[in-house]
Symmetry: C2
Subunit: 362 residues, 2 copies
DNA sequence: TCTTAGCACTCTCGGCGTGAGAGTGCTAAC
DNA sequence: GTTAGCACTCTCACGCCGAGAGTGCTAAGA
């Protein structure tokens, strides 16, 4: 473990470097942070810290900068997070509070706010819809050749999609098909309803129907495809890409290019944002993706009905204002969770009333 | 009008500059393009062209580069577009042909391909849904307190959305409401159905219903909101942002920053992509947006059922491979138009998917 | 034994001058 | 009207130099 004084020095180096982006020397440390000892002593401590791997020297006779390990120690042991400034709190709160019900718009605003306030890149992973357990699949005829497929879960979530019917499909067929899928799939978590399972079902179904009406197969196929896609793909919102160009560590265009390329690779981003609930911080080399090995990714999950469904993230240089970013993400995640719960609560209220009313039909 | 020789010189300068990105001098022109005259003559012609505004000199004793006007003349009069190389054709065709029915995925692939093949930034404006004439609005009861609003146009296009019903709403109410909206709106182009018109309708409706059932107003309000949003907002897909970093004219980080900032401003992008049908080219200062005053934007529209509904665009430096980009966009637009027509013609495909998550308590 | 002052040493960075290279404009001859 | 020749200009890469910042080491002090 580090001696108290070493910790103080390390913290001072990290703080100084985060705010100035310049390698920090013993003299400046001596002047600006009153550590109670001379620059020479600080110098010795810094030499020790370097040997222990917490600091690095870009070149001899330059100051030191924190290593990934140094940042890690700082984040885990030294950093103290203050609550977000009131001004920023209000800025953030305004969005979820403004009653925007379109998730799409809401999340892109959130992304924009995050990048504005943090001055780094923001990433927002939309709420995944595949939680919950399938309750019913319905096929509702709408017009002559049009039906709508609707999917209910135990949480009342609904995905739906319009289907154009092949000729000669009759209402009974639709009903049969829906009953069949419901019977076979009800009670299963949505995430279990994968292509594999559906393949089996589809084969079975064809078996049944081949004799009767071949055209129905086409419809079933469309349904299977839809189900297999797990509802709507989860979108990722990015914002503030231009911010990294302001960071001195990204004057190297090649680095910027790699990062921009990453931001267009949805698959990689999904991987990057696959995080456990709460706040996580991965620093530099701790990241798996090569493109962000010189960056830090801070994430925070937000919830719907108490269950984590999406991720907010900030991507910036390892020289990042950790304390601020973490408070920011925590706060925003709370706002979002609350916003989603509000929506959900309002509906709940409405439905609650409906139920009582329904008991004694008017 | 320019003499034939001047035109040849101008063309040679543009071609040379496009491929090398270096100011071109009379001597290199003399060596690489055989214009049949000496470098001295070329020099004189270039001096003339500069005076006429077609060429510019970064500084005395450097070669010349084309001005915006020079590029304009080149595009309008000198450039000859070859058909797209077979290899690229195949690459582009594979996507719309691969039977992807999700517009979302299709268009993001298109965007990716465009930027890959062109090496510039690609922009894709999704198909606007507000063409066509409203035919019917239906409210289909689905479960006890859930209904689905479905909107049909003369082209068979459909938007739909799940609505959670207030209590005490009965099937007749739904029918009545739908009939009312249909009666008042049928035959109108979707783009005319704006908030203003709907406000009138809503007021009228409240008048009618107040006496009977206040709660119905809430439902009507939801409907009006939905209609006023003109269906789903049209998304813009971007790709290849990292490509501009490869362009020598974008070594200046400030320029890059402005461009990246622009790409996150959806409103501005809508404006940028508001184009007339067919191929358009705006060069440098011809652009209204300051952020792209040093860029060229080439656009091409794609169609559904013969009517332009969306835009493909390439954004790059004014020193752009115009001929290639134009062929590329034309070809891709054709592919897309065809893909969309196929979908609509076969009528076997899913047209639209609803994005909704209505909720209920467990 | 720990801390501190002093000092020589190292390394980067910006400014400056220089020369090569590329290109021009002008003039005079064809 | 075209071309060769030539003097001139401007940029850019290179190398040099000195200032500045910071280090490591040593020796003296607490």
């Amino acid at each position: 473990m580090l001696s108290e004084r070493k910790q103080k020095v390390l913290e001072a180096v990290v703080r100084e470097y985060i705010s100035t982006a310049e390698p920090v020397g013993s003299r400046t440390l001596f002047r600006r942070h009153n550590l109670g000892v001379s620059s020479a002593t600080i110098r010795n401590e810094m030499a020790d810290l370097e040997e222990m791997g917490y600091l690095e020297q870009p070149h001899t006779s330059a100051g030191r900068i924190p290593s990934d390990l140094g940042y890690r120690f700082y984040v885990d042991n030294l950093m103290q997070t203050d609550p977000l400034p009131k001004g920023e709190q209000e800025l953030l709160r305004q969005v979820p509070a403004s009653g925007i019900t379109e998730t799409d718009i809401l999340l892109s605003q959130v992304s924009r706010l995050l990048s504005q306030v943090s001055n780094y890149i923001s990433l927002v992973l939309g709420p995944r819809a595949d939680r919950g357990v399938l309750r019913t699949l319905k096929l509702v005829p709408i017009e002559e050749h049009v039906a709508m497929a609707v999917l209910f879960t135990d949480r009342g979530k609904v995905e739906s999609r319009v289907l154009v019917l092949p000729p000669q499909v009759e209402p009974e067929d639709l009903e049969g098909l829906a009953r069949y899928f419901t019977r076979r799939l009800a009670g299963r978590p949505l995430e279990e309803i994968t292509g594999e399972l559906l393949g089996v079902l589809y084969a079975e179904l064809l078996e049944d129907y081949r004799a009767k009406r071949a055209r129905l197969g086409e419809l079933a196929q469309a349904l299977v495809n839809w189900l297999a896609s797990g509802g709507r793909p989860v979108r990722i919102y990015t914002g503030g890409t231009q911010n990294i160009l302001r960071q001195p560590e990204f004057q190297d265009l090649e680095k910027v290019r790699r990062l921009l390329a990453l931001l267009e690779e949805e698959e990689l981003l999904y991987k990057l944002l696959e995080r456990e609930p709460g706040v996580t911080v991965t620093i530099g080399q701790e990241n798996e993706l090569p493109a962000v090995r010189e960056c830090t990714v801070v994430t925070s999950t937000y919830c719907m009905d108490g269950e984590p469904v999406g991720v907010l993230a900030i991507l910036g240089p390892t020289r990042m204002d950790y304390a601020h970013v973490i408070s920011l993400l925590e706060y925003m995640a709370d706002c979002l969770s609350e916003a989603f719960s509000n929506i959900s609560a309002r509906h709940a209220m409405v439905i609650q009333k409906t139920k009582t009313a329904a008991k004694k039909p008017v």
